[in-house]
């Protein structure tokens, strides 16, 4: 019962947050420079045309009328039409969600797979070289700007290693360091990560495996997502490594660990079953919140890699000052954030029942 009440409270709070976001967005649109009708029509539009569009779009109405109409539209699921493409904003948002989810999940997997073992090793081998290495990695990971890391990865793995070196010897080719010119080595263009884009979706890559017994689409998907996922996941990895390390160190000093040791449980079991489980609470919180952040944009990574997710569409909308699209994307991000937070809260209270009692 307490749990249900707790979640209900969270949902109500979430609704208020979303309403706040919608209102702030509307306010920003109202005070931002640039007449919407002029922006829709571009340079060179005549004043008559601008007036006509203002009239048709209801831009001459008082602000509160426009606000109420906008809210009314939202409640009926109508996010309006893009000024650039004349398409429904909701359709334009929905079609970009899979790419962003793929990237966010891939980055999270990169982070979890690397960070948790790294954190555990770092905590259990304090002040040893492996601990220093993990700490240095975390420091670099947290301090490196996303866009710079992305550009460097493109430069090294797509540009330098991607261009043909006709004179390179085959042993270097066999190491897979250099992409070779035509005809491709053994018929497979195995190197040179793409500079970006998403040539095939995860969904289609999986279908190809089951329907056509072809793994090449999955390979293409992996090659395209590798660099963006590493870029997006690096900060995340560093963060989780540090959290895991400090959480583990705290837990390892607690009496129950001594007790389990006294019982004669193996060290690996103690570390990964008992200690890590208790360390997971703050990690899950951060994972959840960061998933929200990743979902809600990864704007920089998507822009650097031209990854066709919500973040890139948001940047495109900003560049073309396509307000309805911009609003639609940000509202979606806000909703995703709130929903993920509620899920995290639910998980949190499952892992630690004291939370919902508070």
């Amino acid at each position: 019962m307490a749990m249900r009440k707790f979640l209900l409270r969270r949902v109500l709070q979430g609704i208020i947050v979303i309403w706040g976001v919608v209102t702030i967005l509307f306010g920003l649109r109202a005070v931002s420079p640039g007449d919407p009708a002029t922006l829709m029509l571009g340079e060179g539009a005549s004043r008559e045309l601008v007036e006509r569009v203002r009239e048709e779009e209801g831009l001459n109405e008082p602000i509160y009328v426009q606000y109420l109409e906008y809210i009314q539209g939202l409640l009926t699921g109508n996010l309006g039409y893009s000024w650039q493409s004349n398409r429904q904003v909701s359709a334009m948002v929905i079609e970009r969600i899979p790419a962003t989810i793929e990237l966010a999940v891939a980055a999270t997997i990169v982070a979890i797979v690397i960070a948790i073992p790294l954190g555990v090793v770092s905590a259990t081998r304090r002040n040893e070289p492996s601990d220093y290495g993990a700490t240095l990695f975390s420091l670099l990971g947290i301090s490196t700007p996303n866009f710079w890391l992305g550009l460097m990865l493109i430069l090294v793995f797509a540009v330098w290693f991607g261009i043909p070196y006709p004179t390179v010897n085959t042993s270097v080719l066999a190491l897979g360091i250099v992409r070779i010119p035509y005809p491709t080595y053994l018929g497979y263009d195995f190197l040179g990560f793409p500079t970006g884009r998403r040539a095939v979706g995860f969904h289609d890559a999986v279908l190809a495996i089951f329907l056509e017994r072809s793994f090449s689409e999955m390979g293409t998907w992996l090659r395209h997502i590798a660099l963006p996922a590493i870029t997006l996941g690096t900060y995340f990895t560093a963060l989780i490594t540090r959290l895991t390390r400090s959480g583990m160190i705290d837990e390892l000093g607690k009496p129950y660990v001594t007790a389990t040791k006294a019982k004669g449980l193996p060290g690996v079991l103690i570390r990964y079953k008992h200690v890590l489980r208790n360390t997971m609470i703050p990690i899950i919180t951060v994972l959840g919140l960061q998933m929200g952040t990743l979902m809600g944009g990864a704007v920089i990574t998507e822009t650097v890699f031209n990854w066709p997710g919500l973040g890139l569409r948001l940047i495109d909308a900003l560049n073309t000052r396509d307000w309805p699209l911009m609003q639609g994307i940000i509202i979606f991000i806000a909703i995703a954030f709130v929903v993920i937070n509620i899920i995290v809260d639910a998980l949190y209270s499952t892992l630690d029942p004291r939370v919902s009692d508070e």
Binding site: S32, P33, G34, D35, T38, L39, L41, G42, E43, G44, A45, S46, R47, E48, L49, V50, R52, V53, E56, Y81, S82, Q84, S85, N86, R87, A91, M92, E95, R96, L151, I154, L155, A158, V159, G162, I163, P164, P166, P181, Y182, T184, D189, G192, P194, T195, G196, R197, R198, T303, V304, N306, P308, R313, I315, D316, N319, T320, R321
Partner: protein, 554 residues
């Protein structure tokens, strides 16, 4: 009638032969072209590459380069070709939805879907269409389709609300089909001006298709799938991912020559460095809008190169003369003498530009070759400021960021140069482009605008001076003008009624000379268009920022 009955075949062939003859390994290419006039001119065979016999390394897996990728900076997210007046959109759409004419910068218009055209004495021009043009859906093109398309473009009541109608086809009043292949276009200006307009903006759209796909609520032709496109162009859409890419393939039933590449992919990357990277790795074969700072990256890479051309886009700073101190011609001229245009081009644009002293660029009908840019002369500028009576005044220049080549840096430099005058203080305000765009639209009524001095650019894409000056300087029915001067306005309006082509060109040159003298702008420069190109592709960029695949070869 100028241009009537000219044949397009000769021009394209000349282009192809010239390109073939000048290529590094042009012998094989030339052989390919000469060998079979009817083929696509793609006769370079193997070994064209980067000159070392190792293939072109463009990642397409075929040294014949049967497929190419063109990376733009902005991607059309609509299927309606009449919706936007954006160059990047036309670069894609013109391959699918065909223009009636080919426009050649500095040369005029040439028949394409239209076979010939002839001005009548009654304010109309009759356009004769080819009778063998079919749409991708199999329908024949009729005069009815073309007339309806023009009417849809100029009449917002039956079509999409778009600046193409009010601006691109500004003097066109309507069109009607006379018979199956003849369209009569009526206009309210000289035949020469109308020709420049319909030569650029008249397109062949299928009326029934457009009506079937019309989204009434949204007043546009709407669709999100490859099969939703339907034009008469040499390429038909085979794959369309909204906001990402359009893949087109040669259309088998195309009436004209087979295009040079079987498949073309258009996509976009908003970042200059992203476009440069894509080019280097072979993911793109042609990219546009490379920033000067990325030029050396491409120049240093193998198999790709920079190609640039002075575009039709001038950058300048309008000064609204209905407020002080810009109401003084001496003051406006002083601002021009304060600025060192050549220095800006050399340092901020790394040479990718040309100093300019008139509203339009070379290659535009009416460009006056005798007008030199104002040369920086601080002493003269200070003395003119004193003559104007505004010595000691403080002004502010508003400049955009991210719209033109290094625009913010240019704005700051212009303000600094003006500020170095002893008797003028100038600040700069760097803003979002929307602010500048609004300032440009706000007209000359002092109660209606807040920003009298700002930096903006204008591409005279019709190739005629009228497009570059009338929006800024004419007075009647033009509340969005930026300069209030009866003499200049009358001069422009007179040119709109001159039928004789040479006489009109002469009159437009005089308009440009008058604009130089009256200094409604601080004239800055003509921007270069900088492209990155896979060096096996024979193609010279155009001044009008247009990319046509059929002008390429490999």
């Amino acid at each position: 009638m100028q241009g009537a009955e000219k044949r397009v075949v000769g021009r394209r062939s000349v282009l192809r032969y010239t390109a073939g003859a000048t290529s590094v390994v042009g012998l094989s290419a030339l052989a390919g072209c000469i060998g079979d006039e009817g083929d696509n001119g793609n006769g370079n065979g193997n070994g064209n590459g980067n000159g070392n016999g190792n293939g072109n390394g463009n990642g397409n897996g075929d040294s014949d380069l049967d497929e190419i990728t063109i990376t733009l900076s902005q991607f059309p997210d609509t299927i309606d070709p009449l919706d936007h007046i954006t160059g990047d959109y036309f670069d894609v759409f013109d391959h699918i939805y065909e223009p009636l004419f080919d426009f050649e910068p500095g040369e005029g218009i040439f028949p394409r879907v239209a076979e010939s055209w002839e001005a009548q004495d009654d304010g109309t021009t009759h356009i004769e269409l080819r009778n063998d043009v079919v749409f991708h859906n199999g329908d024949d093109l009729t005069a009815e389709d073309v007339a309806w398309t023009i009417n849809r473009t100029v009449d917002p009541d039956i079509g999409v609300v778009s600046p193409i109608g009010t601006f691109g086809l500004g003097s066109i009043e309507g069109a009607e089909a006379i018979d199956d292949t003849t369209v009569s276009i009526s206009y309210g200006a000289s035949a020469g001006l109308a020709e420049f307009e319909f030569g650029n903006y008249a397109r062949a759209i299928n009326q029934q298709w457009a009506i079937d796909n019309y989204d009434a609520e949204n007043e546009a032709i709407a669709g999100a799938d490859a099969e939703d496109f339907n034009g008469t162009g040499p390429y038909q859409v085979v794959d369309f991912t909204s906001g990402e890419e359009i893949v087109v393939e040669a259309f088998d039933d195309y009436w004209g020559e087979e295009p040079p590449f079987q498949q073309v992919t258009f996509n976009a990357s908003g970042e200059s460095s992203g476009r440069a990277n894509a080019l280097e790795t072979g993911e793109a074969d042609v990219t546009m809008n490379i920033l000067p700072e990325d030029v050396s990256t491409i120049q240093d890479a193998d198999g790709v190169e920079i190609r640039n051309v002075t575009s039709f886009r001038n950058i300048f700073c309008p000064m609204k003369n209905t407020v002080e101190p810009f109401d003084s011609q001496e003051f406006r001229q002083a601002m021009n003498y304060a600025v060192d245009n050549q220095e800006i081009v050399d340092t901020i644009l790394s040479g990718f530009g040309e100093a300019r002293g008139q509203p339009v660029a070379p290659g535009i009908n009416g460009f006056n070759p005798d007008i030199e840019p104002y040369e920086q002369d601080i002493g003269r500028a200070e003395s003119l400021v004193e003559d104007s009576g505004y010595g000691g005044i403080e002004i502010e220049l508003t400049a955009p960021q991210g719209r033109y080549l290094n625009d913010a840096a240019i704005g700051e430099t212009v303000a600094d140069m003006i500020d170095q005058l002893d008797n003028v203080s100038c600040e700069v305000d760097i803003v979002d482009f929307g602010v500048v765009s609004d300032a440009n639209q706000a007209g000359v009524d002092p109660d209606e605008f807040e920003i009298p001095f700002y930096m903006i650019g204008w591409g005279t894409i019709t190739g005629d001076t009228d497009y570059g000056v009338q929006g800024f300087f004419t007075i009647p029915d033009n509340p969005a003008r930026t300069f209030d001067d009866e003499e200049l306005s009358d001069a422009i309006l007179e040119t709109q009624q001159i039928d004789d082509v040479d006489e009109r060109t002469q009159a437009l040159e005089e308009v440009n000379a008058m604009a130089h003298e009256k200094a409604p702008f601080v004239f800055l420069h003509t921007q270069e268009s900088i492209y990155g190109v896979n060096d096996v592709i024979q193609w010279e960029p155009r001044e009008d920022e247009t990319i046509y695949v059929w002008e390429m070869d490999a």
